[in-house]
Symmetry: C2
Subunit: 225 residues, 2 copies
Amino acid sequence: MARLSLNMDEYLPLRDVVFHALRRAILTGEFVPGERLMEIHLAQQLGVSRTPVREAIHKLELEGLVTMMPRRGATVAQISERGLKDVLEVRRALDTFCAGLACERMTDEDKQNLRKAFTAFEEAIYTKDTAIIAQADVDFHDIIINSTGNERLISTINNLAEQMYRYRFEYIKDASQHERLISEHRMLMDAILADNAEKAMKAARIHIDNQEESILTQIHLDEHR
Amino acid sequence: MARLSLNMDEYLPLRDVVFHALRRAILTGEFVPGERLMEIHLAQQLGVSRTPVREAIHKLELEGLVTMMPRRGATVAQISERGLKDVLEVRRALDTFCAGLACERMTDEDKQNLRKAFTAFEEAIYTKDTAIIAQADVDFHDIIINSTGNERLISTINNLAEQMYRYRFEYIKDASQHERLISEHRMLMDAILADNAEKAMKAARIHIDNQEESILTQIHLDEHR
DNA sequence: AGTGTGAATATTGTATACAAAACACAGAAC
DNA sequence: GTTCTGTGTTTTGTATACAATATTCACACT
């Protein structure tokens, strides 16, 4: 009579499975901005009914990844240059705040992890693999954000960051930026390790400023093609 | 054969009607934190089917007003003291940022409206009517927030503010705070009208700090009853 | 009395059905 | 040729049906 607790921890409602599938497709660019998302079509493609698809799409709308018009269905959200600037403006405020908080609140263990994540990022850069670099970048920043211990702050920043993932891929590809990324990370890390809030906030601001510049030039380049 | 155009301008999907109804019920305290929200029950009560109710509940979950557990349904979100502090910490960062931006971006028309809203708030205070005061307070702050012109910032702040509405009612009732509220508003307004970002940010911070203190003591009082 | 078991019930998750609105396109009118 | 109109199709919105899981409560067992 063994067999207690087979891993039913991992129950996932279909709507969440669909949600993650669609979300991934949007963030990786598989679904391009402006593309229509039709319930029946997606349902058949995924082998489920319309219901979970509808619910997943609604969730994506609330996350800002799709746009819905009543009676006209959903499309993959188009982010305008203005929209992107708006997102970055809020991120600038929150990321600098976050960097300051991290200086106050980071534990020794967090600091150890931050060092590791920095090294891992350097190594990721050498691989020249965009996906690996992007992941290492997220990991590095997650350590800082999570060290604040403020769940609301964490989810707010992550939601804002998500809006830019599609464009981040583009600019991470650009190898000419890689050295700069490393040095910016180093500056941010050093400030935090030294609990120097002033410097950390400045480093965070510079990091966002440069990201904004990169992404915007990227977009402008795309426009002229 | 008259009777063309009865006001169907206002087409609203049922899910949105239900959403607003439930949202209002939660924010006014008609539904208390922890209360279960059962689909069939609500559907019958509102005279609709489960579908729009489900969709409304999901939307409320994403807004953070409802907590869902898979297969166990939804309950009105309980906000912990910790959760409240977290929300306020983020608001402090964004409201101060917002106040600074307002100084740069407010048009003369906005400034005129801000003065009007300030006077309206003063008058609202004299009525001693909680609902009116709360509305005038929202109006005043909305002018500042909207003057930034940053849609993302606006919706982020509004979402955070919403989390506290239920508690705000409690502390707005406290007449001993009224004079202080007016003077804080005046300080914030004067700084913005003078385009003094430094002072405006400080005023915004003080305003949030005092709100935090009020709400937290309110909660502690409730606990001891 | 307390605990465990199981059937009855209630509730959520998913699928499907039907209604109403949007869309597309062909043909008529000018 | 262009615009209007009407019909057929597609798609979304809402209701309902069915399946699977959770909850409740009575009852037996210790």
